[in-house]
């Protein structure tokens, strides 16, 4: 659905731009190509790496890790797993929901979900390429720390 909308929007905008000003449209496509060139190889590597990570850390292993380990170690482990793997929300939330119903630690589930969306170790090289190494490292590192805090607060509130 979303994919259809974004393609339609992009193509309509491109056609509109073409009729308005061909020179500008050509240079806009050059900008697109410039981004494509600098992103293509890192993105390909990311996609391949995701394949490896998910083969080595299949969802059963993830749910076992988050469901079993207790205490702060369990929360930290869940946060680490969430930082490494890259799963789409429509798989991750049902998984997290079933863990919660099976009695997994609220903090661990919160840590997993929060780092899953905010921290991306696999996409770090691409982020570093776009915004610099320092920015990419610190954005992810700070997100990790805040995810731990959020998780601990949630564990305390939702007993």
């Amino acid at each position: 659905m979303f994919v259809g909308i974004i393609w339609t929007a992009a193509l309509l905008a491109l056609i509109f731009s073409f009729f308005k000003n061909r020179g500008k449209t050509a240079s806009s496509l050059r900008v697109s190509l410039k981004f494509l060139r600098s992103m293509a190889l890192p993105t390909l590597l990311i996609i391949w790496t995701i394949g490896f990570v998910l083969a080595l850390l299949p969802t059963e292993v993830i749910s076992r890790t988050i469901g079993r380990e207790a205490g702060f170690l369990g929360v930290a482990l869940a946060a680490v797993v969430g930082s490494i793997v890259l799963i789409q929300a429509f798989i991750a939330f049902p998984l997290a929901g079933s863990l919660l119903r099976e009695g997994a630690n609220v903090s661990a589930v919160a840590a997993f979900v929060t780092t899953l969306v905010m921290v991306g170790i696999v996409t770090l090289p691409l982020e570093a390429k776009c915004f610099g190494k320092k920015f990419a490292f610190w954005r992810n590192f700070l997100s990790f720390l805040f995810a731990l805090m959020i998780a601990l607060i949630m564990g305390a509130v939702l007993k």
């Binding site: 996609i47 490896f52 998910l54 429509f90 939330f93 905010m118 610190w138 805040f146 959020i150």
Partner: protein
């Protein structure tokens, strides 16, 4: 040009690892390819139109508009714009990277771009609805309420230390 060899080494490393795996655990190797294929298709379906839009954005949208909306002097309005654009989006975080670069080129402040990136990653409206459905309203809304200030703090810290060093020009 310095970056290319490193990425190539990585590529060769993955290739070697994959070949070894294919030799000893052919099923696992196949699984990796199938997973990667799913993500490759996702990327191919989202990235090209986003890059077209980024290109058009760079050419057509005047720098003054973005500076006014998201620049250093944009204040609370800038934060609101960054949050709204981030939540309205969909797709994986790496799609937001070229958009963020483009916004920086157009005069958006690092603070607001950091907010935009984090919000894109963490708080998309459909994702929140999905979370409410599977994890319960209490869980999802509390997490949301804690994530918003966390994002503002992260962005403020990143901005204070001026941490962006290089970007695609």
């Amino acid at each position: 040009m310095k970056k290319v060899p490193k990425a190539l080494f990585f590529l060769i490393g993955l290739l070697v690892a994959h070949l070894l795996l294919a030799f000893f655990y052919p099923l696992r190797a196949r699984e990796i390819l199938l997973t990667s294929k799913t993500y490759l298709l996702e990327m191919l379906s989202i990235l090209p139109p986003i890059l077209i839009l980024v290109g058009l954005f760079e050419v057509w949208v005047p720098k003054s508009v973005i500076t006014r909306l998201l620049g250093v002097a944009s204040g609370w309005k800038g934060i609101a714009v960054a949050i709204l654009t981030g939540t309205a989006a969909m797709g994986p975080l790496y799609v937001a990277f070229p958009i963020g670069v483009s916004l920086l080129n157009k005069g958006a402040s690092l603070f607001n771009v950091a907010i935009f990136l984090c919000v894109w990653a963490a708080i998309k409206i459909p994702m929140v609805l999905f979370e409410i459905k599977f994890l319960g309203a209490e869980f999802a809304l509390l997490r949301l309420a804690l994530t918003v200030p966390a994002i503002l703090l992260i962005a403020a810290l990143l901005n204070t230390f001026r941490l962006n060093t290089s970007r695609i020009q």
